[in-house]
């Protein structure tokens, strides 16, 4: 029913939704918690260390990094196929002016 290309796009879109959902949602939900944490940590130490604010955000980030590298691997695999195909067409002078 769907072409291979459409399917790949759909799978990638689903991955995107699943991965970004938990990443963004808890971070916006816990602003008050974050403010409280920040106030406490600022009293304890004046240096602010950048890090995930809670376990949900941390998990979301790990999922995102995993998803990102998986996507990169898949895209690199497809790009290598495209390069092979483009080089083959060029060798065959498929788009050259001579042929036209």
């Amino acid at each position: 029913m769907f072409g291979k290309r459409v399917l790949v796009h759909m799978v990638l879109f689903c991955f995107l939704l699943v991965s970004f959902g938990p990443l963004l949602y808890p971070a916006q939900q816990t602003v008050e918690e974050l403010q409280t944490d920040t106030a406490q940590s600022e009293e304890e130490s004046e240096k602010i260390v950048a890090s995930p604010q809670n376990i949900k955000e941390e998990t979301g980030i790990f999922v995102f990094v995993g998803w990102m590298w998986l996507s990169i691997c898949v895209l690199v695999f497809f790009l290598r196929l495209k390069i092979r195909e483009a080089d083959r067409l060029f060798r065959l002078k498929f788009f050259s002016d001579e042929k036209e």
Partner: protein, 353 residues
């Protein structure tokens, strides 16, 4: 439907001409082709800088009282703000690193030779702008370290005879590093430098398109025919792989190694120990440190700064100095590039020890 939209756009923008240009543009494939990817990598990091920079502008407040606090807020309160800031910071480092690699690769492969002299010169100015971007951006968090480093950095031009004090005053917006300096640096960072960079980048890219990609100097002198591939889509697909991997590395580093934020700078506090500039200024910083206080009748700092300006001028006019690339002179100049790389690495490591 697609072709209708395409022809509608083509009538207005002349897209067909651009497509024809891209498909007819050829990229030579040889042992130095790998260095061509550094140019597009710089463009990629610059785009990331612009996007993340826009996001940071929304929350950053460039005033003495609020600068440090607003960066702290970005890191702790704004959803994923710490990642955006971290990616902005890492992307700046990557961009400058790739500018260095790009220029050194052009020097070593002698791609600046006739008729690409202006391409090189615009590239050197782009390096200076990138460094100035880094310098001005470093102060913006307004923490103790960046404040002291800027104090030291803006004091260096003072060593230049005649105009030195004026340059320092112009940079600082007064005698000392104050809130005025912060506002000034912010304006330069987000307004003045981007304008210059866009203009020069446009000229640089136009010149690259006009002159085409260079061939190895030996192959060109022997008149050898080098294998070529079309820029679109064959070379662009290859570049996309590089971009994907670089974005992956950048985001991973941005997430797992984010920069922290020190307490707000105190104008009255003594300078903290171990002030160091960003990594790309370390070799210059160490060079200044090794000069003695006085040499004959001039101060060591003045002599060091004048030598640096002289070296910078030589670097800028390199294509005209290295006008016989295949002869002994050309080989000595290539050797000088390797010596400079080793010198910069040794000095940077020494400065960190």
């Amino acid at each position: 439907m697609k072709s209708e939209v395409q022809s509608w756009l083509d009538e207005r923008f002349g897209l067909l001409g651009i497509t024809r240009f891209l498909t007819h543009k050829k990229v030579p494939l040889h042992k130095h082709t790998i260095w061509f990817y550094t140019g597009s990598a710089i463009l990629l990091f610059f785009t990331i800088q612009v996007i993340t920079g826009f996001m940071l502008i929304l929350y950053y407040k460039p005033t003495l009282e609020l600068a440090n606090e607003s960066v702290g807020r970005i890191m702790t309160e704004i959803p994923l703000g710490w990642i955006i800031r971290s990616v902005h910071s890492w992307s700046a480092s990557f961009m400058i690193a790739f500018v260095f690699v790009h220029l050194m690769s052009i020097w070593i492969t002698k791609s600046y030779r006739k008729p690409r002299e202006l391409t090189w010169m615009s590239g050197v100015i782009l390096l200076l702008i990138s460094l100035f971007f880094g310098f001005t951006g470093y102060l913006l968090p307004w923490d103790a370290l960046s404040f002291s480093a800027t104090k030291v950095g803006t004091d260096i031009p003072r060593a230049i005879p005649v105009v030195g004090a004026w340059v320092t005053s112009l940079l600082r917006g007064g005698e000392d590093v104050t809130g005025d300096t912060l506002t000034r640096f912010y304006g330069i960072h987000i307004c003045i430098l981007p304008v210059f960079l866009f203009i020069l980048l446009g000229i640089h890219i136009y010149l690259v398109q006009k002159q085409g990609m260079s061939l190895p100097v030996e192959a060109e002198s022997r008149g050898e025919k080098v294998r070529e591939i079309p820029f679109w889509p064959n070379f662009v697909y290859r570049e996309m792989i590089v971009w994907l991997l670089l974005v992956g590395i950048l985001l991973s580093l941005g997430i797992f190694l984010p920069p922290s934020l020190d307490k707000a700078a105190d104008l009255m506090a003594p300078a903290p120990e171990g002030i160091k500039p960003e990594w790309y200024f370390l070799f210059l910083f160490q060079t200044l440190k090794i000069f003695p206080a006085k040499i004959l009748f001039v101060t060591g700092e003045t002599l060091a700064v004048l030598l640096m300006i002289f070296a910078g001028a030589l670097f800028f006019f390199l294509p005209f100095i290295d006008n016989k690339p295949l002869q002994r002179k050309g080989k000595i100049i290539t050797g000088a590039a390797y010596i400079l790389i080793i010198y910069a690495l040794v000095m940077s490591i020494w400065s960190l020890l």
